[in-house]
Symmetry: C2
Subunit: 212 residues, 2 copies
DNA sequence: GAATTGTTTAACAATTTTGTTAATGCAAAA
DNA sequence: TTTTGCATTAACAAAATTGTTAAACAATTC
């Protein structure tokens, strides 16, 4: 055999398909292009995955579950104090999105284009998410009672966190040329942006008194 | 003539194309489907716009400029005090996106797919945006000197505002089934979400002292 | 080494989609 | 009324894209 490991061709095709689907979307992706990227004939792709649709399902499954995993990252470590937990959650979620910058756009597009895809996903994760945020909401309420933080709706807080973390990467290509030197150095900008998101969330939940 | 106004068919095609391109993207859109929506033969579409590409350009131009217009909305009314100005900006930007909920996804996708499109746009608006935020930054710095607000980087603030306003609509279909009763009534949720975004930004910029 | 099984290729078929054209209609100008 | 020019249609052509198949090939098992 030419390829060391069994399934090497299959894996090559999957890797190429991931690239292609994430950047181009389902409609934009070409099976011939995927095959070319993978270095195989396009008949091979059909041999392994039968149809474009089935190949796509494989990628969707993988990516959707990565995405839902990233949502849990917001929850942070349950053993920590609630405030640290939220802030840690913001940071780890930011890091996750930074490592998978193409994922949000892909997920959003696929959901709009094929709502049926996420029905399945939602059924799988809805109750877990529900349980998690109920638990965290209790902690928040308790901390709020003690005057340690503002009483906030944890779901609203999640939306804010995801908004700021995800949008940073969604809009990067659009904003970059408009922001002058601020975004010139990507690494540095992301560091600043992460700190800004943390600060913004922190101020949202900290008990504070107006000076003015 | 059958159609009252001149250019009625042309307008019908443009409206149908807008619908189709915004929801399906360039690759997902079908010229035959656009023609069907518009109630004309697909040859008519080619007669008026020659190619799918040219029809698409028309829509892109229109939508990109709407999008850049929405960025200016964040700036608010220059005659007002800076704090009101920012808050008013958040609100009017939110309202704009609420009226054009498909726009952000479209713009983001087109930019990733065809960076050359936004080069043109950026050249048109970069200096205006630059001037506007320099002006607002001065106001912020002045207010900060007087202890009326925090000293913040206006560009970072814009990113936060756009993040929270836009993401609300981007992720709506994904979040809705996960959020229980919170998002069940769209109107009510959007009202809450707008208030939440305002509150978050307000807390980010207000001079505050920790209680804890 | 013969049979079996899974892999690979090249050629081809089917379909979808975009784009063209030649013929027709229709309204206003000459 | 004839002509001119735009609008419209239906049929067709071209291209791209997905999917199939039969045959060759390689590896493994018996």
């Amino acid at each position: 055999m030419e390829n060391k490991e069994k399934g090497s061709k299959e894996k090559q095709i999957l890797a190429a398909a991931e690239q292609e689907f994430l950047t181009m979307g389902y409609d934009g992706a070409r099976t011939t292009s995927i095959a070319r990227r993978a270095g195989v004939t396009h008949a091979m792709l059909h041999y392994y995955f039968r149809t474009k649709e089935q190949l796509f399902e494989r990628i969707v499954d993988e990516k959707f579950s990565a995405m839902s995993h990233s949502m849990f990252a917001i929850m942070g470590d349950p053993s920590l104090p609630v405030l640290e937990r939220i802030i840690g959650g913001v940071e780890s979620h930011f890091d996750f999105v930074a490592e998978n910058p193409l994922l949000p756009r892909f997920v959003i597009n696929e959901i709009v284009a094929r709502p049926e895809h996420c029905d399945i996903l939602h059924k799988r994760i809805a109750h877990v998410v529900g349980a998690l945020y109920r638990e965290l909401q209790l902690e928040i309420d308790r901390a709020a009672e003690n005057g340690e933080m503002e009483r906030v709706d944890v779901r609203m807080l999640f939306i804010s966190i995801m908004s700021m973390n995800i949008f940073t990467f969604l809009a990067y290509p659009f904003m970059e040329p408009l922001m002058g030197e601020l975004m010139a150095d990507r690494e540095q900008f992301l560091k600043k942006r992460k700190a800004e998101n943390v600060e913004t969330i922190l101020r949202r939940i900290k008990k504070q008194k107006d000076v003015v």
